[in-house]
């Protein structure tokens, strides 16, 4: 078993609050791995730790077997670890063409070039347009992102992550608040990612999780609660209790 991503006893404390508590997560290469858990379980904190937006209080993070615990966020992206955000994080003044153009040019290491125009490389331009077409954004290429409908923005959010050609992709609730049509588009695209791309899906929507994942980790109160195949998790009474308890309150 080759691990694409691994955490070793990861802790994160904010003052007295323990947001991650001894998390040792193992994500296999090429996995379709889902991370679920009730609200406030620390899922997004874990993603922020993995991508480097937060520094762990203790513990280590390994990407392809190499320690990246103290690596800067943008360098982790260069090593193939990319994420999407639960709440869209887009460039409101840029167009989808520019947005994806940026990601592709950064991936190709051209982002620091202050002389050449982004669109002047035909192979780069056609790659950018190709990505946007796959995501059904071809008709809004030159609109300002801020003016796009929510569903389109959500697609752009995912497209932007794909444009970095990640080897490990962290999807933080990709389908949250997305209308039905675009939901199918997102699921279709995520489903058709190359097999060697490792996907860690953080999701609330159980339908989606059970349709997609081949392995599920359940996070409760910042700690790994239980892990297993979807059938086993679905049958697990403790997981049901955690979730039903949560839904009963909500």
């Amino acid at each position: 078993m080759v691990l694409a991503l691994q955490t070793l006893d990861l802790d994160k404390r904010f003052g007295g609050i323990v947001a991650a508590n001894g998390v040792s997560l193992r994500v296999e290469k090429g996995a379709r791995h889902a991370l679920i858990g009730p609200n406030g379980a620390g899922k997004t904190t874990l993603v922020n730790l993995l991508t480097g937006l937060l520094q762990p209080t203790s513990g280590r993070i390994l990407l392809d077997g190499q320690d990246v615990t103290h690596l800067q966020p943008h360098k982790r992206v260069k090593r193939g670890l990319t994420r999407t955000f639960q709440i869209n994080q887009l460039f409101s003044d840029l167009t989808p063409l520019e947005t994806v153009g940026l990601a592709v040019s950064e991936r190709r290491g051209l982002g620091g070039n202050w002389w050449r125009l982004v669109g002047s490389r035909p192979e780069l331009a056609s790659e950018v347009v190709g990505i946007l077409e796959r995501f059904g954004l071809a008709d809004v290429l030159n609109e300002r992102t801020a003016t796009l409908p929510y569903g389109k923005q959500r697609l752009l959010e995912i497209a932007l992550a794909i444009a970095s050609q990640p080897s490990v992709l962290l999807l933080d609730e990709p389908a949250a608040g997305v209308p039905e049509d675009e939901r199918h588009a997102i699921l279709g695209i995520v489903g058709s990612l190359p097999k060697d791309v490792t996907v860690l899906l953080i999701e609330h929507d159980m339908d989606l999780v059970f349709k997609f994942a081949t392995w599920i980790s359940v996070l409760v109160n910042g700690a790994l609660f239980v892990e297993g195949r979807p059938e086993a998790i679905a049958r697990d009474l403790r997981v049901r209790e955690v979730y039903l308890g949560e839904t009963a309150h909500a």
Binding site: P73, Q89, S92, L94, L110, V118, A163
Partner: protein, 345 residues
């Protein structure tokens, strides 16, 4: 194959913003024509060109990278004094070369101080940039043996430009010189703004978190643009010294930094012409109003600013819509003609 071609055509739109728009060409033709058409206005036009270059510098960091500065005069002043000292002590006598050296000196200062603006919010940046300018001003004040202190740097004599063109008392050489420097540096800034680097700056300004998440080394890019902007500001300051053969402490003054922000507020940020247009409007307004009411002209400038903010730039740009439509039509026609000739070949 067909999809490939249309893909490329559309992708090229990424570069299309970089084509020179007819209005831009018109703008620069007018700027250069002013040299011949307004022979009695060389002095103020030189001042405008210098202010425009200075504003262009602030636009690079504010309009593109989103760094607010209230102490941009630090680099302007540093460039001004370096140019003055180079000429006074005859270290570098040829003005154009001295201009580059002074710009580089400001650039070095920009690089060193860029680390101070990396961290913190807009408010922190305002304070830090303001602080740097104040510190430099007091250093210049304290070391009077070098800088002349409060009396200013005197005894600066500027050699002929390229060894050929004397700086005459009508300001002809100064005007042409300032305008050429502005144009060259503008073209460079324009290129930078439309490059992949420029795109990443706009992304950082819009959302630094996400820029990081697509692999943009945010801090590195901010350091680079801050350093470039410091070069521009230093060159502007050096131009002032060279065209007036004098430099005083007010090159570092808070008012100079603050006026610069006003210039950009008037002209708008993030499209490079804002600083240029703002500089023209600001200087002409200042010139006209100070002739009208020598004491109270800042009152009117203040009033105009309040009006600009209240009315909002969007409404202003709605008023200019007919002009821009016409320009767009001209542009389309020009590009269609261009395509026909290209296909004919």
């Amino acid at each position: 194959m067909k999809a490939q071609t249309t893909g490329n055509a559309r992708g090229r739109q990424l570069a299309s913003a970089a084509h020179w728009h007819p209005l831009e060409i018109l703008f620069w033709l007018a700027a250069f024509a002013s040299y011949y058409l307004l022979p009695s206005k060389h002095l103020i036009l030189t001042e405008i060109a210098i202010l425009a270059l200075f504003a262009l510098s602030l636009d690079l960091i504010l309009g593109y990278a989103g760094i607010v500065s209230l102490g941009h005069a630090a680099f302007f002043g540093f460039g001004a004094y370096v140019a003055g000292l180079l000429a006074k002590h005859q270290i570098v006598t040829e003005p154009l070369f001295a201009l580059v050296v002074a710009g580089m000196a400001a650039m070095l200062l920009g690089f060193v101080t860029s680390f101070l603006v990396l961290r913190g919010s807009d408010l922190t940046r305002i304070m830090v940039t303001l602080g740097v300018a104040l510190v430099l001003r007091e250093i210049a004040n304290r070391y009077a043996w070098l800088t002349g202190g409060a009396d200013g740097l005197q005894g600066v004599s500027i050699e002929p430009l390229l060894g050929l063109f004397r700086f005459d008392m009508f300001g002809r050489t100064a005007h042409a010189y300032a305008l050429m420097v502005l144009f060259v540096l503008f073209v460079l800034a324009r290129r930078i703004a439309h490059s992949a680097f420029g795109l990443s700056l706009r992304a950082i300004k819009a959302n630094a978190l996400r820029a990081t998440a697509v692999g943009v080394p945010v801090n590195t890019r901010l350091i680079i643009v801050y350093t470039i902007a410091a070069f521009y500001a230093g060159v502007a300051g050096a131009l002032l010294t060279q065209t007036t053969a004098f430099s005083s402490l007010d090159v570092f003054s808070f008012e100079r930094s603050a006026d610069l922000l006003l210039v950009l507020i008037i002209g708008g940020t993030g499209y490079l012409y804002g600083g240029l247009i703002g500089a023209i409007v600001f200087k002409l307004m200042q010139d006209y109003l100070s002739a009208l009411t020598p004491q109270y002209w800042p009152f009117w400038i203040g009033l105009v600013l309040v009006l600009i903010v209240l009315v909002g730039r969007e409404r202003f740009s709605n008023w200019t819509l007919p002009v821009r439509r016409l320009a767009a039509r001209l542009d389309r026609r020009a590009s269609r003609a261009g395509r026909v000739t290209a296909e004919g070949r």
